[in-house]
């Protein structure tokens, strides 16, 4: 009696094929037909299969449909582009190499600067103003020197600047200001002072060249620095000759 009311799942494709070709046992066939009385989907599908002439072609269609359905919901595999990977790898290597070279180069110049730089001492004994040779030392210069001697190089710079605005030909002050700039990490400003000094005449030329070379090294401008150092190294009278030679050796 209970077999009348048994609930079962819809027909599988295999069951459908076996039912249509009469391959099911009596019991299985009864289960299927009892289900067909209840299930509109299976019943209509059986009608569809019964009406069609070729069961095999229908099964091919279903196979195709299933694979289309499965393919339509799967994520497309990422496209493999080997040339992009290789180009990226080469690009990365080049970038890293260049960065490494720049670091090595900069650090080499930095090392040379640190090894050879010694600030020029304050050698003011008297101050001679162009207008009044016997005038006392100006207040701004005095303040600048006070800071400079106290190794407060950063604080000395504005006073050097003020003083040089009033007395732009004070070459010793320019040299000290350039040194203060180098010691404060202002190599570009030091370069400007030293070029200014170079233009103004022969005084301090030996030191100007040397500190200018160091200012270039501090900025990583090795070619310019080397050029000046070679000139100093080739000048027997230069007090910086040996240092220049050693610096050149280190830069090789």
């Amino acid at each position: 009696m209970n077999s009348i009311f048994q609930k079962r799942n819809c027909l599988t494709q295999r069951e459908m094929r076996q039912y249509l070709s009469g391959e099911l046992s009596d019991e299985q066939r009864y289960d299927v037909e009892n289900h067909l009385l209840e299930c509109e989907l299976c019943s209509a599908a059986v009608d569809g299969y019964t009406q069609a002439p070729d069961l095999q072609s229908m099964e091919e269609d279903i196979r195709m449909i299933r694979s289309n359905i499965t393919a339509s919901v799967q994520e497309p595999p990422p496209r493999y582009l080997p040339w992009i990977n290789r180009a990226a790898a080469v690009g990365l290597i080049l970038i890293l190499s260049y960065a490494g070279f720049r670091y090595w180069s900069a650090s080499q110049a930095e090392r040379a600067f640190a090894a050879f730089f010694e600030p020029t001492p304050n050698t003011y004994i008297t101050y001679r103003s162009p207008d009044a040779p016997d005038a006392p030392i100006p207040a701004e210069l005095a303040r600048a020197l006070e800071y400079y001697d106290g190794e407060a190089y950063e604080q000395s710079l504005p006073h050097f600047k003020n003083h040089l605005e009033r007395d732009p030909d004070d070459l010793r002050a320019i040299l000290l200001a350039a040194n203060a700039c180098l010691l404060s990490g202002r190599a570009e400003q030091a370069e400007q002072y030293l070029l200014q000094l170079q233009e103004k005449g022969e005084t301090f030329q030996g030191q100007t060249g040397w500190y200018l070379a160091l200012a270039y090294l501090r900025q990583g401008k090795k070619a310019r620095a080397r050029k000046i150092l070679e000139r100093i190294a080739a000048t027997p009278a230069s007090p910086f000759r040996e240092k220049a030679q050693a610096a050149l050796q280190q830069l090789k």
Partner: protein, 207 residues
């Protein structure tokens, strides 16, 4: 929860999951592979249903894919309780719509409408279910069933007896009675439904 998590990630678990579990997991995760797994269980039936009405193989293939697309969108936003029933009505409506759109198939459409009117709808048999689920006494059940059977039409009673009690196939019943297979199916569907109604009345509500 663990079951749900397994479902949303592991393909092997999907094969063992029920329709309801797959529907719920798809509604919550939106993973279309779950919907595909579910739909593929019925793809051959949907195709058979399409084939019944559309005839042309290509139209059938397109229709099945269209129904799958509907499944993807509808199953995400609505709660489907009986997936096979939902598939039947969705596919049938799609086929009707296809036939209506295709002017060349106007004759086929008429055939379809005639068929729709002549085919009795299969309904859930509440009387049977009550009889089955309430654990009614065996001898009472047998008596009530015999009484209900006696109230069926001749054709229905004959077919119901041959099918449910003698376990004969549609074809065999057709051979014995001289009815066509379609007539046998119709007698069985109507007889089973009517039997259910009669049993529903004869069985006490509380049982």
């Amino acid at each position: 929860m663990k079951r749900f998590l397994r479902l949303s990630t592991r393909k092997k678990s999907w094969e063992q999951a029920s329709d309801e579990e797959l529907l719920q997991a798809y509604r919550q995760t939106g993973n279309q592979e779950l919907a595909a797994e579910l739909f593929n269980r019925y793809a051959h039936l949907v195709y058979g249903l399409c084939r019944k009405h559309l005839k042309n193989r290509e139209d059938c293939r397109d229709a099945v894919m269209a129904v799958f697309e509907k499944t993807l969108t509808q199953a995400r936003i609505t709660e489907i309780h009986h997936f096979n029933k939902w598939l039947y009505s969705t596919t049938k409506n799609h086929c009707i719509s296809n036939l209506r759109d295709d002017q060349r198939n106007s004759r086929q459409q008429e055939e379809w409408e005639v068929l729709e009117k002549s085919e009795p709808r299969i309904m859930e048999n509440e009387g049977f279910l009550r009889l089955y689920h309430k654990g009614t006494n065996e001898s009472d059940t047998s008596r009530i069933l015999q009484e209900a059977l006696a109230e069926l039409d001749e054709g229905q009673r004959t077919c119901v007896r041959l099918f449910f009690f003698e376990k004969k196939s549609y074809k065999d019943i057709a051979g014995v009675t001289g009815y066509s297979v379609n007539q046998v199916k119709s007698y069985l569907q109507n007889g089973k439904r009517r039997l259910g109604v009669l049993l529903g009345k004869k069985l006490p509500e509380g049982q």
